[in-house]
């Protein structure tokens, strides 16, 4: 489907309102295949809404969103196909508590990809090994720590062999000592060439893996550029203010 020049994700003047609140204002963004984009900004800036629009967990009201060349519309068939190509990792993990770790990982490959069970389990074990928790496969999510759960969530998304991975503040709900294990997993994933869009406050992670950092405030993209440009020579006052606040905290 995708040729070399077609962007993996393309947002064109996207607008969204929650009631009267204008949460996305003319947001345009292109993410190339293999590119790693970090979206940052103060809370309420619309960054989570933006990333959730990309797999239509939120529905945008104006503008166009194309994922892998397909436009997001009300067509649920096409939407399910797009969603199966786009992995998502949530702030609150959202593992399925009634299924084991292994079943969490094999569910979508078996039911969406129609993969035979044995093959799906082998695949799941491969990814659980990659996130370094193969020994937890038979346990239930409630028996794992937050960091382990988030790594399972990453493995679960990877089992669908997605073309794009979306991360919605993946470390914000974690205790400090568990943040590193999740970030390490994400860095490894980035090194493997995955296309990634990541909403995060972890500026160290952004510096290390991002090709581009997008700064959002009050629903619009204020500034974007390489991590070096953004952090060393911010152009706008809003970004300067944001950086001074976030760096003071670290």
């Amino acid at each position: 489907m995708s040729n070399g020049t077609q962007p993996a994700i393309q947002l064109d003047k996207v607008n969204k309102w929650f009631g009267q609140l204008h949460v996305l204002r003319d947001v345009s963004l292109e993410v190339a295949t293999g590119e790693k984009v970090v979206v940052c900004g103060p809370s309420g800036s619309g960054k989570s809404t933006l990333i959730r629009c990309i797999n239509r967990l939120e529905v945008h009201q104006e503008g166009r969103i194309l994922v892998d060349g397909t436009e997001l519309t009300d067509d649920t068939r096409a939407l399910d196909t797009i969603r199966s190509e786009v992995g998502m990792v949530f702030q609150s993990f959202n593992l399925f508590p009634h299924l084991t770790i292994l079943e969490n990982c094999t569910l979508a490959p078996i039911w969406v990809r129609k993969m035979p069970k044995a093959e799906a389990e082998a695949l799941a074990m491969e990814f659980l090994t990659r996130v370094k928790i193969p020994e937890q496969a038979k346990k239930y999510p409630g028996q794992l720590s937050g960091g382990q759960q988030q790594r399972v969530a990453i493995a679960r998304a990877l089992c669908m062999r997605p073309k794009i991975m979306l991360f919605d503040e993946p470390t914000s709900a974690l205790d400090p000592e568990m943040i590193k294990e999740v970030l390490d997993t994400m860095i490894e994933l980035a090194d493997s060439g995955m296309t990634m869009v990541c909403v995060t406050h972890e500026m160290g992670f952004a510096r290390q893996v991002a090709d581009r950092v997008v700064f959002m405030d009050r629903g619009e993209v204020v500034e974007s550029g390489t991590p070096h440009e953004m952090f060393e020579s911010p152009q706008t006052d809003r970004l300067k203010l944001f950086l001074s606040q976030i760096l003071r905290g670290h």
């Binding site: 967990l57 399925f96 679960r156």
Partner: protein, 379 residues
């Protein structure tokens, strides 16, 4: 305490002292913690013992178990019961009438068929309760049992005598109405609960809301009346589904509404993240519901579900008013026999015990299910 730390006393303390744990301590803490509490305990103990002694006396020691047959008339002579009246129970009425109470007006010499039906029902309950049978084959078992039950009850094939539905009665009727009522109501309830939450399908949602509110706003008795009296008026001449089927449909429609609202509660209690995670994996609506949402939502609502089940098991006795011969009706009719008219208490106690056995089993089973499911989700 600090002065007694010798080796011997440490060894003694391997077990907690009697006054901290154990039955004596428990009684002290819970029954005799103050003067008032001691007085209440003693008063309640007095009444409890007096009642228990009285009950044992009435039910076992002074009770009449059988009465002789009067040689002149060939009928039972209940004089012994009449003499014991007020002091001892007359279980002879049960002994004489138990087959009528269990099977109603079903032809006496065909009772074995109704008895097999009861055994089939109990077997069905046991099999359905075991998790290792929770596979598609269970649906086949249900259909097979359903067919055997109605073949046995109706007869007319395999050399079995035909027994019209008017002659059915007793416990088989109660079990047919409640078992198939709840079994059919449950899937309808799931669909209605999902429909009521389908915000992107306004027509479906509206139909579900109207169905729920209309049926829920009407007493079951009036629905049964509608089914038995009014419904046939609207049907073309000659097409008249039998009374039991009509009552069964009314019960299904009614139970489905209550179950649907219970299930909707479970759907709403699930965190939004579960829906989103399923969506994000590309699961279609029905796969999302069937694999992720319903398994969790239904576990959450086991207690109110079983509550509703138990309620409906007993509510089937309302078919009495449209002349269907269920367990309660046959009990009532049994004591209209002139010989036994004075001994309805004993019959009602027996009916109560039968209902209690079924309801209590459901309650215990639901507790074991809850325990089993909580294992997997425990943090």
């Amino acid at each position: 305490m600090a002065t007694t730390t010798t080796h011997a006393s440490v060894a003694d303390r391997a077990q907690p002292p009697m006054l901290v744990a154990g039955p004596v301590a428990w009684m002290r803490a819970n029954l005799f913690s103050s003067v008032w509490s001691s007085l209440v305990t003693l008063a309640l103990a007095y009444f409890l013992i007096k009642f228990t002694v009285g009950l044992i006396d009435w039910a076992f020691l002074k009770s009449v178990w059988t009465v002789p047959t009067d040689p002149a008339t060939g009928k039972l002579n209940p004089d012994a019961c009449r003499q014991a009246k007020g002091e001892g129970a007359c279980w002879a009425v049960i002994w004489d009438k138990y087959r009528f109470i269990l099977f109603g007006r079903y032809p006496y010499e065909e009772h074995w068929r109704a008895a097999i039906v009861l055994v089939l029902f109990l077997g069905l309950f046991v099999v359905s309760a075991m998790r290792r049978f929770w596979r598609p084959v269970l649906a086949l078992i249900w259909v097979a049992v359903l067919v055997s039950i109605f073949t046995l009850m109706w007869g007319g094939v395999f050399g079995l005598r035909y027994v019209a539905q008017d002659e059915w009665g007793g416990l088989p009727i109660t079990l047919i109405l409640s078992t198939f009522g709840l079994a059919c109501a449950f899937p309808i309830a799931v669909l209605v609960a999902l429909g009521r939450r389908a915000t992107n399908l306004p027509a479906v949602k509206l139909i579900c809301v109207i169905y729920i509110e209309v049926i829920r706003g009407v007493p079951l008795i009036s629905l049964l009346f509608m089914a038995s009296v009014m419904f046939p008026l609207f049907m073309p001449v000659g097409l008249n589904p039998d009374k039991l089927l009509r009552a069964q449909i009314a019960i299904i429609l009614f139970a489905a509404v209550y179950l649907a609202e219970v299930i909707r509660g479970g759907l709403q209690a699930l965190p939004k993240g579960q829906y989103e995670a399923a969506d994000a994996l590309g699961l279609s609506y029905w796969k999302k519901m069937g694999l992720i949402i319903l398994p969790q939502a239904l576990r959450l609502v086991i207690p109110p579900l079983v509550n509703t089940f138990i309620g409906f098991f007993k509510d089937t006795s309302l078919v009495l008013i449209i002349g269907i011969f269920d367990l309660l009706t046959s009990g009532k009719v049994a004591v209209t026999d002139p010989i036994w008219q004075a001994f309805s208490t004993e019959v009602y106690i027996m009916l109560g015990l039968i209902y209690f056995c079924f309801c209590f089993s459901m309650a215990r089973y639901s507790q074991s299910l809850e325990r089993e499911f909580s294992k997997s989700v425990r943090r």
